[in-house]
């Protein structure tokens, strides 16, 4: 192909100084520059900038320096040899692409190459040409569609110089060479590292990266040649071979495999390759597969293997799949003569062209009849016959594992899928919104071992420390109550009596003994100095009896009864304080429920994630392909601390690949207040709203779907009875209309209250939805959750899954179809 561009691009070293070259091709631009530079710059005294960078230059190192000094040295008239030990970072990368070209059209010029004594390739001195695929296309005339195939084709044309290295045009047929897996270009040991670069997908030339491999070379995937072993160290080899075998591009393209006349989809191929007895050495081609018996063969051929039956791959089997002409049918396929002979030898009655129905265990019956006629594999001689006729016999494990393969969970994920289909869900929320509860719940729901032994141990310590701080808060409350009641007494008495000075020694129900008092003072001091973490988990054993004594103390119990008045005491504290004695024992082991209730288990590290896949739900759902797809999708739930998510958050952009943001709001926050850094008190609901706005407007999440979780519905239901929703200024306009009749007719107040809670939560949801659509003009998905109830969290996460799934399918529906789904309320799931 004598393309015009190639004429000016000549690669051999006999190339005359480049100054003569026309500056037309992209190649010559640099060349031109360089030569002009060589003329003017190099000789002068100006400090070469690189000498600034490279304080010590000339350490001709471990790397063979590849200088392209020929042209330049001719220009300068300097001895070639002196130019060699310059720089280790010789220029190589951008030359790579030109090699294909050169190999194609310049073979004739290469004749006199071998008289050059240099070890390194002279081509390196060639002008810096970047020959990208556009150029290639131009050369080819067309081929915009599948330039890859064009590539492969072209290289098969260049067989005429197959003995030579494609890069340096040296060597002979007998010299060892490495072959590109895509385009079959061959490189000698000197050039292979240059031509193939960092080999992110194994042995491919730099320009072939990203293209599927030549199928004929599939066998050699991951098998390292001796040459590479010589060039690279063992660790490097291992990395390259691993990349070669497992990178996604190098996997067998599913559409190359036809089963029963239907090209496979990605999921089907995965199913096929990961069944208990997969077809061996799967190559592209057409196959037939008898789903009932597991027989497998190439189209038009006798069966060659028995694989796992009942795999949902390909279409229905055709009668002429194996091109038989015996008029005997097995599971709807006309069998071949060889098979018929086998059946006859196995003692199966085949007179009258019967149609057989053969199961995976070899039992067979005639079509339309009920009773089993016998078992093909029952006779001991059958397998021998099969071996003689080179027919497949069932492998042992296929029978044994038959049942197990049907459950997709037990399937091992293929390695290259490891980070293939992972849907990431980002869970964020204001502190105390219960998102860590949801996270823990997800862990408990979907993981076989939600918490490892080490984790449990550290959780135990966290819980124990927490309990001490709860006790501290309780004791603080006690002190306050004591003071208050003393004051009260004093007041009362000063009203009644004149002060005698003995009053202050009076005891109240909140007073404790001196020993406990000392402990309490000490504990409070430690808490105030913030050293609680340092002392406590370690000293648990020591203080346990004291705590026990204290807990049984009447004063403490009296304080505990008034725990609602201690604002800083979190609501979960009572769950632990009730069992304080048990928890502070050294042999205490937290239950899943304890962990669920515990604070600070996940927040100790800023970002936590859990990877899981939803267990297959109803069996009928897994039949359709989406259900099948489901079992391969892995989900990753990521929680991030709200702290630090500001306008200029440095790491939020790292989470741009999440599929959806789940924003968690505690419903019961509407009457809670938090003090922020500068001492201003804000309503927690409003703080949540502010965070919500920040995240929704963050550029990273611009196009992302949001699911709002309104958490702590259970607490909310309780609270709404006592505190009106209008306590939060955002919900000023909440005027629930509760029908009198309803309340009068229905004496059962609880149902009435539930409906109030429902109304209120809907109101909050609508508020958030309006806010969201005013910012993004999209729809906000909302879900009501009780974080402590597994079913509720499960339903919500499944809802999230559905949203993601729907988003993937959405492009498949036309706009008109959309109307069917577009409803204002459909996005609102009431999952409790």
């Amino acid at each position: 192909m004598p393309a015009p561009a190639n004429c000016s691009r000549i690669f051999s070293k006999e190339l005359k100084p480049h100054v003569t070259e026309p500056a037309s091709s992209p190649a010559s631009v640099r060349t031109f520059d360089r030569s002009s530079n060589a003329g003017s710059g190099d000789g002068k005294t100006t400090v070469s900038p690189m000498s600034v960078i490279a304080a010590r230059s000339n350490d001709a190192g471990d790397f063979s320096s590849e200088e392209h000094s020929h042209e330049l040295s001719k220009l300068h008239g300097v001895k070639e040899s002196s130019d060699f030990n310059d720089s280790n970072w010789a220029f190589t990368d951008s030359l790579l692409s030109l090699d294909y070209e050169s190999s194609r059209d310049s073979s004739a010029k290469n004749a006199d190459f071998n008289n050059e004594g240099k070890s390194m390739c002279d081509v390196k001195g060639a002008p810096i040409v970047t020959l990208n695929f556009n150029n290639l296309d131009n050369v080819d005339g067309d081929g915009n569609e599948n330039d890859n195939e064009a590539l492969v084709e072209e290289f098969s044309v260049t067989k005429r110089n197959k003995g030579l290295c494609y890069r340096c045009f040296k060597g002979s047929r007998f010299k060892e060479k490495e072959v590109c897996l895509v385009c079959s270009a061959k490189y000698c040991g000197n050039c292979v590292l240059e031509a193939m670069g960092s080999m992110p997908e194994g042995r491919k030339c730099v320009d072939c990266i990203g293209y599927p491999i030549d199928e004929s070379k599939r066998e050699s995937l991951g098998k390292c040649s001796r040459m590479l072993r010589r060039l690279l160290n063992e660790l490097e080899i291992r990395q390259i071979m691993k990349a070669e075998r497992f990178c996604e591009v190098n996997q067998l393209p599913p559409e190359y495999i036809c089963v029963n006349g239907k090209p496979l989809s990605f999921e089907e191929l995965v199913t096929l390759q990961n069944c208990a007895t997969p077809p061996k050495k799967l190559k592209p081609g057409s196959y037939w597969y008898d789903k009932v018996s597991g027989l497998w063969g190439e189209e038009g051929q006798k069966p060659c293997r028995i694989i796992s039956p009942h795999l949902n791959v390909g279409g229905p089997i055709k009668p002429d799949a194996s091109n038989g002409n015996t008029q005997v049918y097995i599971n709807g396929r006309e069998i071949t003569k060889v098979e018929l002979r086998m059946l006859q030898l196995a003692g199966v009655q085949c007179a009258g062209n019967p149609h057989f129905w053969v199961n995976e265990d070899g039992s067979y019956q005639e079509e339309g009849q009920k009773n089993t006629r016998g078992n093909i594999w029952g006779k001991s001689g059958t397998k021998l016959v099969c071996a003689l006729l080179s027919l497949p016999v069932p492998s042992k494990c296929s029978i044994l594992c038959g049942e197990r393969t049907s459950s997709p969970v037990s399937k091992r994920m293929p390695d290259y899928l490891e980070h293939g289909i992972v849907q990431k869900l980002l869970l964020v929320g204001f502190g105390g919104s219960g998102m860590s509860t949801i996270f823990k719940q997800a862990k408990i729901l979907y993981k076989d071992t939600p918490f490892s032994k080490d984790e449990r141990e550290s959780i135990k310590l966290t819980i124990q420390t927490n309990v001490y701080s709860y006790i501290g808060l309780l004791l603080e409350g006690r002190e306050r109550f004591e003071e208050e009641s003393l004051l009260n007494i004093k007041k009362n008495q000063s009203d009644v009596l004149d002060s005698t000075g003995t009053i202050s020694k009076k005891k109240t129900i909140y007073s404790i003994g001196t020993r406990l008092k000392a402990f309490s003072d000490w504990l409070l001091r430690t808490m105030a100095s913030g050293k609680l973490d340092a002392i406590f988990p370690a000293a648990t054993r020591e203080y346990a009896p004291l705590i026990e004594e204290m807990w049984s103390n009447a004063a403490v119990q009296a304080t505990y009864k008034r725990r609602r008045e201690i604002e800083t005491l979190p609501s979960v504290a009572s769950y632990f304080l009730e069992r304080v004695v048990e928890i502070l024992r050294a042999d205490y082991e937290p239950s899943d429920l304890d962990i669920l209730y515990a604070e600070g288990v996940t927040s100790s590290n800023g970002l936590a994630c859990v990877e899981f896949s939803f267990p297959p739900s109803a069996p009928e759902e897994t039949v359709d392909t989406m259900g099948l797809h489901d079992s391969f999708v892995r989900y990753q739930l990521i929680t991030a601390h709200a702290r630090g998510i500001g306008e200029n958050c440095k790491w939020l952009e790292m989470l741009e690949d999440v599929g959806m943001v789940i924003f968690c709001v505690a419903l019961s926050d509407y009457d809670q207040f938090s003090t922020e850094g500068k001492g201003c008190v804000t309503n927690k609901m409003l703080a949540s709203r502010k965070l919500f706005e920040t995240i929704v407007t963050h550029p990273t999440f611009e196009e992302m779907d949001f699911l709002l979780i309104l958490n702590k519905l259970d607490q909310f239901e309780e609270k709404i009875k006592q505190v009106p929703l209008t306590r939060c200024e955002w919900f000023d306009d909440f005027h629930p209309v509760i029908s009198r009749q309803c309340s009068s007719n229905n004496k059962n107040s609880s149902s009435n209250n539930a409906s109030l809670a429902q109304l209120a939560s809907h109101h909050i949801a609508v508020k958030f939805k309006r806010l969201y659509s005013s910012i993004t003009s999209r729809k906000l998905y909302v879900s009501l959750v009780k974080g402590l109830e597994p079913d509720s969290v499960d339903a919500t996460l499944k809802y999230a899954k559905e949203i993601l799934k729907w988003n993937q399918e959405r492009p498949n529906f036309s706009l008109s179809d959309n109307s069917m789904y577009s409803t204002e309320d459909s996005s609102f799931s009431f999952t409790c």
Binding site: V52, A54, S198, L232, Q239, M654
Partner: protein, 377 residues
């Protein structure tokens, strides 16, 4: 003393402090008669000139599948470790471009990585708030992965930056989103000292970058979201030696000047600055509009061995080479052939100064070095 009274006094003290600061600044400004560029120009210095082959991309390291966030060279020059959002650390042989190790991390949101001075182990950290140490000599587990040999946990925010104390494989300084820097003892896994945090002189926002003085490893600098850089002495954890104001937005990157008496900063406000640690003065601002006439934040900076050149990566994919003396951009790597297609996130110079490595959001690392022919005299 009542709370109200205390508050009043606090307010008064803050005001005095601010006044004093202002006066200090004014005095500084009045004393500052010139900057580096002005002086150099008056001395008749000429900017460094670059020939077309003096700095070219000569290697592309491909293999990450996510954005590259951080890189570091070994001291023995040819290995690079890079950290990417795909959750992997890759150790490259920079000369052959091959991967020596690909380490899958337990937490994939890694923001920083560093080689130990001996090149035997790697430290990395990220959003999991833990700095993980991986020994390259340890045996791989059954999946062929190198295990984490030590976890340095204790930060309450993400780990934004880490650097080993030179010549010591056992000490490491991290900067974190919890506004502190910590000096760690790796052998015990415990904090040796914490810089900032509860103390008044610490950073008031996330620490984004740390850099240890090459000539005096007790001194290190940190840059933060509070738009300041601070200088610390590892022997005195209680307070910062000095705070350097000047930047208008987050200081994304700090790097000590090779002579150890200055350090450079790169900021979200699109400028780089040079500060002198002895006087506390700002010596020079490096700021130039980009080709699209906008300012883009600086993500990372590095000095050449002599200090004459400052490399700065920008979010738009530009990488300027500044002449530090004349404050002129002498080369833009982003405009060269084979440059990155996306934001440059990290820069690093080989220990011998012979090559520059850049990492980018386009998942590649590129090595820039002298690509032409040099005469040997």
């Amino acid at each position: 003393m009542s709370v109200a009274e205390l508050k009043e006094r606090h307010l008064a003290a803050t005001e005095t402090l601010n006044n004093l600061k202002q006066r200090l600044n004014q005095t500084r400004r009045s004393l500052l008669d010139t900057d580096v560029a002005g002086y150099a120009r008056s001395q008749g210095k000429n900017p460094v000139t670059f020939g077309p082959t003096d700095l070219v991309c000569c290697r592309t390291l491909q293999g990450h599948t996510g954005k590259v966030y951080s890189l570091d060279w070994t001291s023995e020059k040819n290995r690079i470790v890079s950290a990417s959002q795909d959750g992997r650390l890759i150790v490259w042989n920079a000369l052959t471009r091959q991967k020596i190790h690909a380490i899958k991390l337990p937490c994939s949101w890694v923001m920083t990585c560093a080689f130990s001075p001996t090149g035997q182990s790697i430290a990395c950290g990220g959003l999991d708030n833990v700095c993980s140490i991986i020994n390259l000599n340890s045996a791989t587990d059954k999946d062929g992965n190198l295990p984490v040999t030590r976890m340095l946990s204790g930060h309450k925010g993400y780990i934004s930056s880490c650097q080993y104390v030179p010549d010591e494989d056992t000490h490491l300084i991290t900067g974190s989103g919890d506004q502190t820097c910590v000096l760690w003892d790796i052998t015990t896994g415990l904090k040796t000292s914490v810089f900032g945090g509860e103390f008044q002189s610490g950073h008031t926002a996330d620490v984004l970058s740390v850099s240890i003085n090459g000539s005096n490893s007790r001194i290190f600098a940190s840059g933060s979201c509070d738009a300041t850089a601070r200088l610390w002495d590892t022997r005195v954890a209680s307070r910062a030696v000095r705070a350097f104001h000047g930047h208008e937005r987050d200081v994304n990157s700090v790097k000590f000047f090779p002579d150890g008496n200055r350090f450079g900063t790169g900021s979200e406000d699109g400028t780089c600055r040079l500060f002198d640690i002895r006087t506390g003065h700002q010596l020079q601002v490096y700021s130039q509009k980009h080709s699209d006439n906008e300012t883009h934040p600086v993500t990372s900076i590095a000095f050449s061995i002599s200090g004459r050149l400052l490399f700065a990566g920008y979010t738009n994919g530009d990488c300027y080479v500044w002449d530090t003396l004349l404050a002129k951009v002498v080369l833009n790597l982003g405009s060269l052939q084979d440059s990155h297609e996306s934001r440059i996130t990290c820069l690093g110079l080989a220990a011998d100064g012979s090559a520059l490595c850049t990492g980018s959001w386009d998942t590649n690392l590129k090595i820039w070095a002298f690509g032409g022919h040099r005469r040997v005299i």
